[in-house]
Structures are given as C-alpha cells and as structure tokens.
C-alpha cells in the first residue's frame, strides 16, 4: 500500500494516512474520504484566517501573533492527524516565525503553506481518483453471473 502511495503523493503524506486507511472497513466504507473532506474544509477556513492574521500583523503597528499561533496549532494538529507531514512542518516553521515576531518570515511561511496545501490537495484528489478507477476495474474483472439476462 505504501509503495503505491509514494509515487502519487511524493512525501507530502506519511504513514498516518495508512493508519486512516486501516480504519476504513465495511461498517465505515467512506471513512478516509470523509475525514479528508473535513480536513479540506477546515484547512481552507484556517488558511483564510491565517491570511487575515498576516494582514493584521503587517498593516498595523500593534502585532497580535497570538491569534496566528492558535490557528497554526489547529492547522498543525489536523494536518498531523491525516498524515499531511509537509503541511504540518511548514506550520511549525510558520509558528516559529510568529513567535519571533518576524513579519517577513510569516509572509514567506504563509506562501509556502498555501503551496504545500495546494499540492497536497491535488495529490489526494489524484489518489482518490486512482482508487475509484481501481474499484471500477475490479468490478469489471469479476465475471457476471451466468443467468444474467
């Protein structure tokens, strides 16, 4: 499974994603896609928040990095829960910059974060498509019952 994963996702996800796949079964057949969709939804909200946080920090004299830290913690947590290792790592760097009140560093980190998130999203979509195709192909391979009119 892992070997199939790597060429598609090129290191942007780690073995925690495999753990999620293990949690999927007949009683919860769409578990992974459900969790991933929730992750996308939450992440996009967090990214919007982080963009605003960065604007506040850059435009105003008074710098409130605390909010940024909260959003980053949330993003870090959910990213590690689905195995989005690279996104998580950028969050860590981002947070370090915010703790040092480093505006330029925060902006750079935000840019990188958006890039990594975008990359991840594309890769996961690809993965799901491949998975869908595999399921369809498997269905075609199984012969029909003889008494099928």
């Amino acid at each position: 499974m892992k070997r199939a994963l790597c060429p598609v996702c090129s290191g942007s996800i780690d073995e925690q994603f495999l753990q999620l796949q293990q949690l999927q079964d007949e009683s919860s057949p769409n578990f992974v896609s459900e969790v991933v969709n929730i992750y996308f939804h939450e992440s996009e909200k967090l990214l919007r928040n982080l963009r605003e946080d960065c604007l506040v920090v850059v435009d105003k004299e008074f710098s409130d990095y605390k909010k940024m830290g909260i959003h980053l913690n949330q993003f870090m947590g959910s990213s590690s829960s689905i195995g989005a290792q690279r996104v998580r790592n950028v969050c860590v760097a981002f947070r370090a910059a915010s703790e040092q009140n480093n505006r330029a560093g925060c902006l750079r980190a935000l840019e990188l974060l958006e890039y990594e998130y975008c990359y991840l999203k594309n890769k996961l979509h690809e993965l799901f498509q491949i998975e869908q195709q595999r399921i369809l192909a498997a269905g075609v391979r199984y012969p029909q019952q003889p008494n099928n009119p």
């Binding site: 073995e15 925690q16 753990q19 999620l20 293990q22 949690l23 919860s28 578990f31 459900e34 969790v35 929730i38 992750y39 939450e42 909260i70 913690n73 949330q74 870090m76 947590g77 959910s78 590690s80 829960s81 689905i82 195995g83």
Partner: protein, 226 residues
C-alpha cells in the same frame, strides 16, 4: 497489550496465568469514552479509533461542553444526569476557551467526577506539559497523531481483564513506566507472543523505577519507525 498486561499482572498477582488471557475487553459493560477536541478532523478520527476498539463514544468540541454533558454544574442536585456515565475522558490539550489541562483540573477537583480517568492528547511532545498533566492526575498523555495501538493499549491497561480500582490504579501507574516498552506497537497488532515479556523486562532499567517520561519518550521513539 501483552507486555503491559503481563508485567502488571506479575507485579500485582505474582502469577503468570495472565499471559495467555490478554483478550480484548470482554466485559458486558461497554466502555464509554467522552472525547473532547476542538478539531472536527481529530474528533472524527478518535471516534473511529474508539469505535473500532468497541468503545461507546461521545465526542464534543470543548471543555465547557464536556462539563455540561457530564452534568458538572448540576452535581449537587443531579437527578437528570444519572444516565450519562462515562468511563474515560480523552481530551486534546490545546483548545480555545478551556484547555484540556483546565478541564483535567476541574474533573480532578470535583468529588463527584475525580474518579473518571482523564487522558490528555497533544500534537506536541513538551515534557513540562506532560509533567504538569500527570501531576494534576492525568492517567496518560498521548502524542498525536493518535494511533490504533495507542487506543488499544489504553483500553487494555485501564479496562483490561483485571478491572483496576482507583487506589490500584495509582499502583499501576507506576508500573506503566516499565511496561511501556519498545516494540509495544508490534505486540499490539499481533496480540500473541508472551515470550516478548522477558525481553522487555530486561531492556528497561532496573536500578530504579524509570519515570513515566522515559517510557513515554521510548514509546515515541518506537512509534517513529512504526
């Protein structure tokens, strides 16, 4: 959790009959876990992990909500909330509003609820944080991302065959440090090989009982190459 079960049984019962009896929680009473996490992603994942290990789960998004659902404020006159019984609370550390640590303090500071074991989860391995939580009475501290092996281990030593009472739990907590040894994850998935226990026993320092932190770090190290 073969190692855990075996070791604590050696200490507590001084018998080795427990070795082959490490089946999952077979009690008729289903373990009810209250999971607290502000992240919907994490709530989904922890819920699934707990359900797969045959626990009943209630997942809420904040400490406030958790206290509310436990009937915390109504403890003096609690009649209506008798039905909501919880065997374990598992909470994220970092949450807006009330943190997991604050929730832990509230629970442990209450005569009605302090018996409920509380486990803290955090996406960061900060020793000071772990220390603080354990001092305040947390049963365990899990570094996220939470894995199936973490949940199984937890369930096994807390609600395993020999149901542990509060005072014994204190005793068992000290045992955890030695029993949380390397390769616990592999053992978890195999759920066999009682022969592993001697190896794990010898691998842990015996001159003094190792602290929980040592074992926790060991567990982190092993989980890295999982």
């Amino acid at each position: 959790m073969a190692i855990n079960g075996v070791f604590s049984r050696f200490k507590m019962l001084d018998k080795n009959e427990g070795v082959n009896n490490l089946s999952p929680f077979t009690d008729s009473h289903e373990v009810h876990v209250l999971a607290v996490d502000d992240s919907l992603v994490d709530r989904k994942v922890i819920e699934r992990l707990l359900k797969i290990t045959s626990c009943k789960v209630t997942a809420v998004e904040s400490g406030r909500r958790a206290l509310q659902i436990l009937g915390f404020d109504e403890e003096k006159t609690s009649v209506g909330f008798d039905g909501f019984k919880v065997d374990l609370i598992i909470t994220d550390y970092f949450m807006p509003g009330m943190t997991g640590y604050e929730l832990l303090k509230k629970i442990k500071g209450s005569s009605n609820f302090r018996e409920i074991p509380v486990v803290i989860m955090s996406s960061e391995n900060v020793l000071a944080r772990i220390d603080r939580c354990l001092e305040e009475g947390a049963e365990d501290f899990i570094v996220k991302p939470v894995k199936l092996s973490d949940v199984r281990r937890l369930k096994s030593y807390m609600f395993g065959e020999n149901r542990i009472h509060t005072q014994d739990r204190e005793f068992n907590k000290r045992k955890i440090d030695v029993s949380l040894s390397p390769s616990s994850d592999e053992v978890m998935s195999n759920q066999s090989s009682p022969s592993i226990s001697p190896r794990s026993f010898s691998s842990s320092p015996t001159s003094h009982s190792p602290t929980f932190l040592d074992s926790h770090i060991r567990r982190l190290k092993t989980s890295n190459h999982d």
